[in-house]
């Protein structure tokens, strides 16, 4: 198979998965995110060879970013261009953050890293989800716990927490955003 047709195949498969997800198909969306995380991991691993500890954090941060902004994908555009633009943006953002941080805190030394796990092996990011969720305020934590971990509907969550349905949706969105920031260690 030529390289072009392999890329076309990836584009078509990812795109079909995302579009079905955007229409509400959870199973297709989960498969899409899973394949997406593999691509992101290999993309960041190539570009962060000297910072292997950052790779999984950045994969997770980018996954949340793409999930939260999934409404900005225009179905008329190639999906891989959308993914690549966000991955690059997140990579540059990390570099800027680190450059600022290193100037303030760290001496300039190179560390050698050898054991690099394979791309599709999902490793752990450095911070635990339960611990991170615990740092969010109630109005963000409860909507995420009920709708995303326990699988309740928005309406059920609203009833349970006494929040309005739109407050639940906003809470999930803002909570995921805050979670991404915590994973990236921005706070």
């Amino acid at each position: 198979m030529t390289n072009t047709s392999r890329l076309d195949e990836i584009e078509n498969r990812l795109r079909a998965g995302l579009l079905r997800g955007l229409a509400g198909d959870s199973v297709a969306y989960r498969a899409f995110l899973k394949e997406l995380s593999t691509h992101l991991r290999s993309y960041f691993r190539k570009r962060l060879a000297s910072l292997p500890d950052e790779v999984e954090d950045l994969v997770q941060e980018s996954l949340i970013a793409m999930h939260n902004q999934r409404h900005t994908y225009d179905a008329k555009q190639p999906l891989t261009a959308w993914i690549h633009a966000i991955a690059k943006y997140k990579l540059v953002d990390l570099m800027r953050r680190r450059a600022r941080h290193d100037l303030l805190h760290e001496p300039l030394d190179d560390e050698m890293e050898f054991a690099v796990p394979s791309d599709d092996e999902a490793s752990d990011a450095r911070r635990d989800v339960a611990e991170l969720l615990g740092q969010l305020p109630e109005r963000q934590r409860l909507p995420i716990v009920h709708t995303k971990l326990e699988g309740l509907s928005v309406a059920e969550t609203a009833k349970l927490t006494g929040m309005s349905e739109s407050a639940v949706k906003v809470g999930v969105h803002r909570g995921l955003k805050a979670l991404a920031a915590l994973i990236g260690g921005k706070k």
Partner: protein, 213 residues
Amino acid sequence: MKTDDLVTLLATGDIAIQAHTTAKRFSLALGLGVGVAFLMMLGLLGLRPDFPEAIKFPMFWVKLGYAASLAAAALLALVRLSHPGSRLKNAPLGMALPILLMWLLALYTLVDADSAQRQELLFGATWGNCPLLITMLSAPIFLATLWAVRGLAPTHLTQAGAAVGLLSGALGAVVYSLHCPEMGAPFIGTWYLLGMLIPTLIGAALGRTLLRW
């Protein structure tokens, strides 16, 4: 946290999205922003006193069309800049064209005029206020547009900030043109442009800070 767990978390629950989010967001922001700018113009500056007569002159519409077409090009650029992977394509040309056409018209007017009239055509009576008043009227539009873009996904923050500034500056100029008595192409090609460029530069300078996500 394991990435697979995060994937499951993200895919659980109501993940469907509503259609036309971008269009709704921009319509709401621009409607609100321009509405506030219009009320500011009415309250603080007032319509030009000769408004009913002025709308009969072609130059009134040329001035309005100049600012409106720049706003349209800036909006097109901004929508593209807010969607990762989209290319600007002909949007920069759309921004350059009204400016060039106005400069051509200005040049023609200046060459055609007596030397005594030229200064009057360029400076009018209000050149000192025009850029700052356009900047002032663009402020509510700037804030509203910023809100709209923050809900999207700009990946070139300086460019996106500049586009926010140009869009709000150009719409501020549209509103200002209902107050402003000036009709000379050299005036419009200079001072209106400067009024639109001030918010553009502010947007470019603040883009990286204000639009980061």
